[in-house]
Amino acid sequence: MSELTPSQTVGPFYAYGLTPKGRAKWDPDGTYSWKETVGDNLVTPDVVGDRIRIEGTIYDGDGKPIPDAMLEIWQADGQGRYSNDPGSRKLSNAAFKGHGRSACDRDGVFSFDTVKPGAVVGPDGSKQAPHVLFCIFGRGMLRQVYTRMYFDGDAANATDPILKLVPADRRGTLMAKADGNTWRFDIHMQGDKETVFFEV
């Protein structure tokens, strides 16, 4: 018997509590007076890594943008270091939090300003290709879905232990495409292009 507190949807009205400034970049009037704790800019003054922007659109099963989804990311810095060790509350890498949260605009667009993560250790001493973990919430989503964003063209993708678990014809849904310093990563909840979601 599980002891967990069950998950429930974030609902349509989370913005003034969780992303009060989240729409400021698209709509100066669309912000709330409440202060922001978790935002979409992960860049810190002394972070190690190349600055990048992650940008994408999230779509529902009809191919319509989802304007009220909330996306969170978790990632390592440019040297593949997370802010802390597993289970530890001490920050072994205090220079980079590695956590971000983005609202969506009316057209389902989200974005993060961050750094490109380095390779991270994987199971049994393997090495994971650079990736960003996504956790997605929304109205109509009773629990979060997890996915991963990889960087298209990175040689390490060929040997990534997690990508190997994904059928070859679906791996493309996890590949962000470069456009200068911006990496485009669209998310499809359903349909022919349905993004790979992970059971974790």
């Binding site: 967990l4 669309g30 099963g61 919430f137 109509g140 059971e199």
Partner: protein, 233 residues
């Protein structure tokens, strides 16, 4: 101590596709999820300390020029892992409707009054024992468009961080004895009554403050438990 995150515990969670909650139809995965081992990425997660919050962030009755209308309440409890160990320094964020059942969100169309002294947003960080506390007003019920004459039971939205990114939880806290429970597809998306019971706060007379405010207790259990020898096989 190494924490593990058994997938069996997720049986308490709703299914992605829950037809009675209509918005799930186009927003739930249709292809099988890919089973994957937990790597360093999943086993770590953000830590927010007390510098993330400011005075009165956890007192929703003190964020306006005056006091909000409604029934003043205290909501408190512990954030715990699956072994019931406290989760210290856990960022806990809440948002809720006002006493009339109206959110300040820009797209809320419910024709109930806004309260100039109430936004309904709060946050705090748990102490060493995993304890958190909010002072707020009891949220009202409100209608929604899911089906004819649909009303949400009174609830407060919670967002919580745990020992790793796998422990991340967004949930809703309900109030004991709500007459809307049998009719709410979101509440009933959790199909086992024992699991649903853990989303319902309990009335806490012991911590109710005489002549001032009723108290409700809501403990939150997030993913993560200690590895036992049989897990090593």
């Amino acid at each position: 101590m190494t924490l593990i995150y058994p997938r069996e515990s997720l049986s308490a969670y709703p299914k992605y596709l829950t037809p009675d909650y209509k918005s799930t139809a186009k927003r739930s995965p249709t292809k099988p999820l890919i089973l994957m081992p937990h790597t360093l990425t999943e086993l770590t997660g953000p830590v927010y300390g007390h510098d993330a919050i400011q005075e009165n962030d956890n007192d929703l009755t003190k964020q306006g020029k005056g006091e909000p209308l409604g029934e003043r309440i205290i909501v408190h409890g512990y954030v715990l892992d699956e072994d019931k160990r406290p989760v210290a320094d856990s960022l806990v964020e809440i948002w809720q409707a006002n006493a009339c059942g109206r959110y300040v969100h820009l797209v809320d169309q419910h024709p109930a009054p806004l309260d100039p002294n109430f936004t309904g947003a709060g946050r705090t960080v748990t102490d060493k024992s995993g304890y958190y506390k909010f002072i707020t007003v009891k949220p009202g019920a409100y209608p929604w468009g899911n089906h004819y004459n649909a009303w949400r039971p009174n609830h407060i939205h919670f967002s919580v961080f745990g020992p790793s990114f796998l422990s991340r939880l967004v949930t809703q806290m309900y109030f004991p004895g709500d007459y809307l429970f049998p009719f709410d597809p979101i509440f009933n998306s959790v199909t086992d009554e024992r699991d649903r019971a853990r989303m319902i706060s309990t009335f806490d007379l012991e911590n109710t403050i005489p002549d001032w405010a009723l108290c409700f207790r809501f403990d939150i259990v997030v993913r993560g438990r200690d590895k036992t020898p049989e897990d090593m096989d």
